[in-house]
Subunit: 138 residues, 2 copies
DNA sequence: CAAAAGGCGACATAATTAGTCGGATATACC
DNA sequence: GGTATATCCGACTAATTATGTCGCCTTTTG
């Protein structure tokens, strides 16, 4: 049942950190992957990879060189959980058979394709209805 | 992201089959694990295990012996996706750190415990709001 | 040009999921 | 009563996925 996974946790922790720093200093701060890794007590390489993804999707902006790092580019109220899940996990498909590149194991014999599609749509709409800001600000 | 897994798929397919049979014959039919396995093209042992779980939770009623099998005991509109997920997967906790028997990896250092609890509650409420009937009847 | 940062691919390990096997108990039918 | 056919249950193996590691590259600052 674990929809949540480590990468998603790290992403949320990182975004929360950026957001908190922004609130405190009233300006966008630059934070390196190393700092985030230390803060989250998570392996540097994994956190770095997550930040790279967020950067490639325009959530963060990367700056190279010494004193480099990332800036938060977007407002967290404008990013949905669905967006984040797609970025981190590649898809929000509930079951493998729903992915475009995979076929249903049971081929034409599956009796629940439309029910699963139905549920999948509900779940996607649910995650689309929740913003990151809404999750973090509790 | 796969909240859905094989056991849940088999459970849904089995419940759909029972429900369809009930609708067609206008009475509760008895169906064996073997029949369900053949119908779903899934391994007999796995399907059998899933049906045992549904039986132990009162969704199905088991009958031993030749001509035995299971009967659908409950109305599918009164079982929620949350119920089914708990039965099959044991818990609906989003993250391991939320389970009562496990501790958070990050101990007191986790910065997103309340956000994750927050999201977890939303997800649980979502699955509690969807009945099996609602998923299957599309 | 060295140090420190991001970017990327391949690999190794850990954890979870899925499936298998063996044997037990219960019931119907001959 | 014995056999066939069911449900039940535990332990095990295999497959898949999630997680973490390593190496090397590019970019920028001082």
């Amino acid at each position: 049942m674990n929809t949540m996974n480590k990468k998603l946790e790290y992403a949320l922790m990182a975004l929360k950190y950026f957001d908190d720093q922004r609130s405190e200093s009233l300006q966008d701060v630059i934070v390196s992957a190393k700092q985030i890794a230390e803060m989250t007590h998570a392996p540097y390489e994994v956190v770095a990879r997550v930040l790279q993804i967020l950067s490639s999707r325009g959530i963060l902006k990367a700056e190279y060189g010494t004193q480099g790092g990332y800036r938060l580019e977007k407002n967290l109220s404008q990013i949905t959980m669905h967006d984040l899940i797609v970025m981190i996990e590649g898809s929000t498909e509930l079951a493998k058979c729903l992915s475009v590149d995979k076929e249903c194991d049971l081929l034409t014999k599956c009796t629940i394709i439309s029910p699963v599609q139905n549920l999948n749509q509900k779940v996607q709409n649910f995650y689309k209805s929740i913003s990151i800001a809404e999750v973090l600000n509790v």
